[in-house]
Point group: C2
Chain length 127, copies 2
DNA sequence: CTATCGATTAACCAAGTGGTTAATTGACAC
DNA sequence: GTGTCAATTAACCACTTGGTTAATCGATAG
C-alpha cells in the first residue's frame, strides 16, 4: 500500500503528528538546528531525525549543512494546498455553526427548565 | 504509540488518505449509503467500512441506521480546526510566493540568454 | 421459514510508523 | 592523531494501517 502517495496525502500525514506540528510551529519563529528543534521533546535524537525526514519528504522543511550543524527552515507551500483543499468545505462547517446558533436561540427563547436529557445535539436542517 | 491522540492529529490522519478524502468529497454533495460511497472504488466492502470508521472516529462523518442501510453524512467541524491551524502559516507561504514573483521579475528583467543550470530555485529573502 | 441483501466483524497479512540503543560519519579543537 | 560533538544510519521492536477473505447480523422479500 501507500506506493507513490499523492502530495496531499503526504502533507496531511506529515501534519498528523503533534511532535512534527510542534517542530513546524517552532520553525515558524525562525530557522533552527536539529539539536535546538529536539531539545523541547523527551525523545532521542534519532527519533527527531526521523520526524525531520518525514517533514522534508513532505517538502515542509529544508535542511542546509553548516559545518557540523544542519540548520532547518520552514517551507510552508504544501500547507497552502492542504489549506485550499479544506477551504472547499468551509460552507459545510459554517452551515453547522448556523444550525448550532439557531438551536441555542430556540432553546433560549423557550426558556423552560427542562432538565435536558443529554448533550445538546445540533438539530438537522433536513428539508 | 499513538495512545490517546489529540483531535488535530486524528483529523489530519483521517485526511491523509485519498480514498477517505474522495469519500468526504462525495459526501459534500449530499448524504449517501455505504454502498453508494464504496461503488467508485475498486476495494472490498470491509475496506470501505474501515475507512468510514476512521472518518467517524475523527468526527468527520456520522452514520444513521435506516432499515438495512447506513446513511452517512458529512460533519465538517473538525476540518475547521485543521483549517485554522494551517491558517497560522499563511504568511509563510505568501512570503514564499512573494519571493517567487520577485525572482521571476528579476529573471525577466535581465533577459540574457543564460541556458540556466537547473530548476529555478526560489531565492531566499534572508534579512 | 428461507433466501437474500447491506453492512459489519473476525482473523489474518504485508508494510509503515514512532520509538529505542548502538554504531557511524564529518567537522572542529587540542 | 585523538577526542568530541552534531547528526544520521542501522538494526530492532511494538503497534497501527490498509487491504484481504470468510463469517455474521438484521431487515426485507418470497
Amino acid at each position: 500500500m501507500a506506493h507513490t502517495q499523492d502530495m496531499l496525502s503526504i502533507t496531511f500525514a506529515a501534519l498528523a503528528d503533534p511532535t512534527r506540528r510542534a517542530i513546524l510551529t517552532r520553525l515558524a519563529r525562525g530557522e533552527a538546528t536539529v539539536g535546538e528543534l529536539g531539545e523541547p521533546f523527551d525523545i532521542s535524537a534519532p527519533a527527531i531525525s526521523k520526524h525531520l525526514r518525514v517533514l522534508e519528504g513532505a517538502g515542509l522543511i529544508e535542511r542546509e549543512v553548516d559545518a557540523r550543524w544542519r540548520i532547518c527552515r520552514l517551507r510552508a507551500e504544501p500547507m497552502h494546498d492542504a489549506h485550499d483543499w479544506l477551504e472547499a468545505y468551509r460552507r459545510h462547517w459554517e452551515d453547522s455553526l448556523d444550525r448550532l446558533v439557531e438551536f441555542v436561540e430556540q432553546t433560549h427563547r423557550a426558556e423552560a427548565k427542562k432538565p435536558g436529557s443529554g448533550a445538546p445535539r445540533v438539530p438537522r436542517k433536513k428539508p
